[in-house]
């Protein structure tokens, strides 16, 4: 894909987020219990959603690689996993800052935080493993299998830690309606905006992987001759 299109998508995403920020900061009232700090949620929640979607795509393309042996799928898995780790980091950091005000502490070993941290570790491990393998086909195959293992582990981690301890507020978007309609709408409005940013990241990373493949074959020519 052309670089200019990627930049356009990125600018569109960023612009949309800024526009949403304007709504969130100026038009929505403070939360009755939490005060202004709850506005972090407009980043926090969509960041988790985006990371979740990225992880699903990464799993799909890893399986796709194992079936087709087409390195494009491997590049997609890598690009989406990297974006997922970036958004997981946002989720963890914003959540921690929010917790400092709402709970009075930066970090608590509550179920969701702990599960999120474990997910982050699993996917960071995937990225580290990739750096340790030189040969592209071998790297693609082995990391695809690890991707499947990591994904399978997420629900197990989730349940184990859920049983172990819980402090995080329950799902705020469904059920008892802890969140006001206008606020909910703002969360949902910020989600596609962040997804656009994520898409720009992924597309840029994919382009880089393509260039890297070209570099690899050029190297072969240089060395062979």
């Amino acid at each position: 894909m052309r670089k200019s299109i990627i930049i356009l998508i990125a600018l569109l995403g960023v612009g949309w987020v800024v526009w949403n920020l304007h709504t969130v900061l100026l038009q929505l009232p403070d939360d009755a219990d939490q005060g202004p700090v709850y506005r972090i949620m407009f980043f926090h929640i969509p960041a988790w959603f985006s990371a979740g979607i990225a992880v699903f795509i990464a799993l799909g393309s890893s399986i796709g690689y194992l079936i087709t042996k087409n390195l494009k799928y491997d590049a997609v898995a890598l690009a989406t996993t990297e974006a997922a780790v970036a958004f997981l980091t946002i989720g963890l950091v914003t959540g921690s800052i929010w917790g400092r005000i709402s709970w009075g502490i930066w970090w608590t070993w509550d179920a969701r935080l702990t599960s999120a941290l474990v997910c982050w570790l699993l996917y960071a491990g995937y990225l580290v493993l990739r750096t340790a393998i030189e040969e592209p086909s071998q790297r693609a195959r082995i990391s695809a299998v690890l991707q499947i293992f990591a994904f399978a582990d997420i629900p197990i981690v989730w349940y184990s830690i859920e049983w172990f301890r819980t402090q995080h507020p329950g799902p705020v978007l469904r059920g008892s309606g802890e969140m006001d309609g206008a606020m909910k709408a703002a969360v949902y409005a910020n989600w596609p905006a962040l997804m656009l940013v994520a898409a720009a990241f992924v597309l840029l990373r994919l382009r880089q992987e393509e260039v890297k493949r070209e570099i690899d074959s050029l190297r072969r020519i240089v060395h062979a001759g």
Partner: protein
Amino acid sequence: MAAAAVAVRDLWKFFGDYPALREITFDVEPGTCLALLGRNGAGKTTLLRLLAGFSHPGRGEVRILGAGVRAPETRARLGVLGHGISLYEELSASENLHLFGSLFDLPDPARAVDEWLERVGLSRVRDGLVREFSRGMRQRLAIARAFLHGPSLVLLDEPFTSLDDRAIAVLQQVIREGLAAGCTVIMSTHQIREAMELATHAALLARGRLLYHGPRAPEMLADPGWLYAQYGEA
């Protein structure tokens, strides 16, 4: 017409985007011995590893004795001798052979092991650990391991490299007997003269392509460099 021992069709192997093997197509008839020639990096080992089922081709197909490479019945009829000796240092000669005898589902592993230890001249040290063996003894044991289950196709990667005289004699003898019994042999090699004495066919690989495949011509025996010179690889 009987099925070819090895049928290779439009075979490609990629490492990343780099094609290590390109559109390789050839047949090997049962009971023949093919010498696979080519310089370092020409793709000889890659081709042998594909035939042995250590890795999957990027494109194309390999049929061995009419079946797929990874099929259990193919594996049972395949003997492989690679760069390493594939023996366990901590186990004794007979334990090593027993291990592979039982992995290959031999009906009477004990007898096969005894026979082969006798053939490669290691009966007296059957209970010695491989760790304590000399180079030549290890190589002879490796030959026994590769031929233990009476394979109908044998793949040898540089078999004569770094063998001592006695091991070369044993290997040549074993290959001759195998060929006489209808076994098919494919070997990659640098030592053209030793290989050419055994080979009925020859193939030349260069940069992943098959340049020549055909019967061994008398010129090849007389002048080891002949084939290379013919195809501008000298």
